[in-house]
Symmetry: C2
Subunit: 339 residues, 2 copies
């Protein structure tokens, strides 16, 4: 299929290519009604489709957004096993498409940054999930495009952030357990990294303990990866050596499912023997039996908010918030028992 260019359209309409370009870019007022209709007709007849590469070259605007999600250590595969990211992406993609952008979804190779991709593709903006080493962000800033961070507490005004109050979430979860009579509460979590969401949830956990006159016991913390498998291992460990633990706060729903599996595998029932609370309320949580009590955030909305925020920045809107905090709420279902 030979490419129809703007010149073909111009020729067919009997006008110059500049005129065509004008109507293509919404500057229709620069053109007489007559020419306008001729051009529109020609575009339709020829079924003209613009070439974004050329546009990007001339314009420095690609209508391309980079979306980065974390990946597994070993396989360098995207962490799509975690439905959290899937839902985020659903929200992002829908909003982007509806606004005329396309999404390049990728992970970033170990040791490499994202500067290359940004420059190669002339990205108009990027949404970054997960947390990376500092040089990663410094590189990103050099490219000088709007960037939205999800799941990061990097304190730098260059970046926009769409977050939730993770500390509060950790506090809410822990408090809910305490209010149900639990005193020895384990924390099963991914790596507690500075400026990461997990750290905040951890801090909320500790604050709740303290405010309720309970001691923080480091032995109750099972730190590993944010994965089902780590949950399973922790569940097993707890089952084999209870040490008085009656409840578990898992900092992600997927982890919580793992914990439940690890426990029940060893005959420990949830919530009869041990209560479990999660975090995120991924769509799976409704499907799982028993239905998981968790701290809910609206993940899809968060994705579309991130996309919207990015688009606003790109398009030069004035009042773009540099930080947006979305609400969370406790969802009480079947995995926490009053004791």
């Amino acid at each position: 299929m030979k490419r129809i260019t703007i010149k073909d359209v111009a020729q067919r309409a009997g006008v110059s290519s500049a005129a065509v370009s004008y109507v293509l870019n919404g500057r229709e007022h620069k053109v007489s009604a007559d020419t306008l209709s001729k051009i529109k007709k020609a575009i339709a007849e020829l079924n003209y489709i613009p070439d974004y590469s050329a546009r990007s070259l001339a314009n420095n605007k690609s209508n391309l957004i980079g979306v980065v999600i974390p990946q597994t250590e070993d396989q360098s595969q995207l962490l799509l096993e975690n439905p959290f990211y899937c839902e985020l992406i659903c929200g992002i993609e829908a909003k982007l498409r509806q606004s005329g952008y396309h999404m390049i979804l990728s992970g970033v190779n170990k040791g490499e940054g994202y500067l290359d991709v940004s420059m190669q593709r002339n990205l108009d903006g990027a949404i970054i999930m997960g947390i990376y080493q500092e040089s990663f962000y410094e590189d990103l800033k050099k490219v000088n495009i709007p960037i939205v961070l999800i799941d990061s507490y990097i304190n730098d005004n260059y970046f926009k952030r769409i977050g939730i109050d993770d500390e509060l979430g950790g506090y809410m979860a822990t408090t809910h357990l305490i209010e149900n009579g639990h005193q020895n509460i384990a924390l099963v979590t991914g790596t507690i990294r500075k400026d990461g969401v997990v750290e905040k949830r951890f801090l909320g956990y500790k604050r709740s303990l303290k405010e309720h006159g309970l001691f923080y016991n480091p032995d109750y913390v099972f730190e590993g990866s944010v994965s089902y498998d780590h949950g399973v291992e922790s569940g097993r460990a707890i089952a084999s050596d209870r040490r008085g633990i009656t409840a578990v706060f898992a900092t992600g729903d997927l982890v919580a499912f793992g914990v439940i599996a690890g426990l029940s595998e060893n005959g420990v029932k949830v919530p009869e023997d041990i209560s479990v609370i999660g975090f995120d309320d991924i769509s799976l949580s409704k499907m799982f039996v028993p239905r998981l009590t968790t701290v809910r955030q609206d993940i899809v909305t968060r994705g579309s908010a991130a996309a919207q925020c990015l688009i606003d920045s790109i398009e030069g809107k004035e009042d773009v918030e540099t930080e947006l905090t979305l609400p969370i709420e406790l969802v009480v279902r079947d995995t926490v028992k009053r004791i």
Copy 2:
């Protein structure tokens, strides 16, 4: 960050931009060892990053692959709720990135096709999941780029297909149930569309019934969408009116989970009262309690095979199979009971 161009590199190295272009494109033998080293040095010093838009314009090669996945009817959100697609994408993305390509992931708007995107972005190829109306494929062919279909039995040699033997899978699942003494087997499934995978699984189901001397009973077929919710509804329906049904073949794991939920919600236990078998073996299936008996396909591998096949076509390899059928196997776990 001002863009460093090939000219800057040429200037710095004291050579022409053509020479630089040569070494950039691996035609290093067209250049003297001395110039080569000077150019390499300049590239490194200036931290030159090529502009793919320009390259695409000049070359008609974008190193961009379009990946299309189905979306929900209402929200036009990607069907990432279904882990099947997530895993596929993991496989695809990893392979593409490792081969120097980027992935544009999107759904396609109702009523629109994918021709626009393909042309706008100068896609080098595309991977299409799900099935669409015929005009969709006809449009795609016009663009004249390699295309890999997943989950389609469209009979057209233009397209490559990476599939499994869905008919056999349906047969295996049903046969497994029959061999465990079941005679009244319900089928819970997405829409049975011509040339779709679901149709093949359905045909395998019927063949197994027939070969084992059982009658096909249309009343036992619960046709709806490939979703958890449809599973739940069907499960409820079965629970409230058993009609002798002792086993269910769900044509997707997610659907199977729904069925199980719908059943147990009404006090019907799996597998004690009713056996359930699924299809796909998504990673979730290991996590679910009870562990789902299912027909396994290696989804991630399928994704990376699709990507590899596409890349081979793009790069003009000779021996690219037009159709690849990956193995499947029965995975016996805990949801089928012998009666």
